[in-house]
Amino acid sequence: MTKKNLTTKDILHIAKLGNLTLTKEEIEIFKKQLSSVIEYISKLQEINTEKVEPASQITGLTDVLREDKTDDKRTLTPDQALANTKSKEGNLFKVKAVLTE
């Protein structure tokens, strides 16, 4: 098994991909823990899968479609949709500015 040593830079990169911010302590712990997991999962490289199709839908269903119509039974009212948010304005979710001048 090939030894895996994630660096601080690796950890920060992966954390950024997952939209996570980490403390210094977390970086050190995850560096060690994730390296050992990645080392373990890398053993798949031993298998020859050249002629194997990837599994995506395990019971073999394909093209499950429905009519392109609104279903009132699974539609929330604005009040229901907004009931759990901490930040709203009128009937809208309020978020931080995405674009800056």
Binding site: N19, V37, K43, V52
Partner: protein, 476 residues
Amino acid sequence: MDLLSLTIKEVTEKLKNKSFSCKELITECFTTIKKNDKKINAFLTRNEELALKTADKYDALIKNNKEIFSEKPLLGIPVAVKDLFTTKGIRTTAGSKIIGDYYPPFNATAIKKLIDAGVIIIGKTNEDAWGHGSSGENTDYEPTRNPYDLSRVPGGSSSGSGAAVAYGAALVGTGTDTGSSVRLPAGFCNLVGLKPTYGRVSRYGIIAMASSFDTIGHMTKTVYDNAKVLEVTAGLDPYDSTTVPVKVGQYTKVLGQNIKELKIGLPKEYFIKGLDNKVNSSIKNSLKILEKLGATIKEVTLPYTDYAMAAYYILVPSEVSSNLSRYDGVRYGGTREVFGAEAKRRIMLGSYALSSGYYDAYYLKAAKVRTLIKQDFENAFKKVDIIITPTSPTLPFKINEKTDDPLQMYLSDIFLCPVNLAGIPGLNVPSGFVDGLPVGMQIIGPQFSEELLYKVAYLFERETQYYKIHPQFKNG
């Protein structure tokens, strides 16, 4: 009333002949919870007020309508619901703090079906946050303890549901099983626990862990009770396009049919070093009982077993990283720094496996290995009807024994995850006790073979009746 000694079948009879009322039954559940849950931590939310109100309503129904039990096959049955199940107006946390104050505006399909069938929701149960774990210790709250030994874990991730049924707080505990999460707590808590075929029960409204793996199951004391609940929850759902148009079985009707000429396979890759000797003996003893019932046993091989956990821990975190991306604090819940350590680990692992330059080597490779694992089982099922394995390689382990080493924790599920990779059903059945601790036996069948699994389990249970052994809260 001793709830621990009662099953769904018996409670239904007693409600029908008015030995007790729904109100008395539900009151007893909460008396038990108030007495014991401080020691166990099975519940995150109690639904006492609404449950008692519903019980009153059902008592009136029973009084006025004798046919009500055929309309509502689970009338009055107290259910403990895992906190991954969305419940309208009842707090739903997924065992996490980030959505610790979330009150969903709708019910999961499985919950709607159970409510329509007459169940009473007792409360929402503790779990490894988001379903990430094998012990219950990855909860963002206080970990659940095993009612058979309070110094040990009850198994996870559906830890609270398992413990709740085991100590007599409810008759059904709902669970989800993405890699082990119904079968392991069932195994560690002396319960019957079903992981159904992928797509047998709707995932709509279940907080998603890994969408191509998640299955919706439940734990009960007996096989009959378990089959009875699946008759309610199984079936096609227009709100979940992965539910399968295969007819729902008559799971309770087949119970009692003989299993003569049944061929049982024992995968040689599972009976290896690392399997506790005492667990091994318990399973071997159970196999002898099945032989006496007319089954024959032969060795089978699942050659890619050794790679299953690696494939699982690439594919599942990949799907986790995608499913957890929605928790951004905009529509509900807090912001992402509130995630616990295990959620962060899995988001990062998944992000790594899916990232540019690694996708082919990890995600795509693992998806191909998933095909090989599925074929392993298909080939074995050409030779045998079912496969039997231990549910866990060890007895229920100690609290904190594996928390510092995530990889060791992951490997607790080594006999269970392959079943999720293949999308097939697995049923945990109690196999007896070793040193006062429950041992679980897993019965695996081809996709949509739930009837057969129940048939085998029922006859085995009739011989053994381990469900009559109750927890003593050892080491409390």
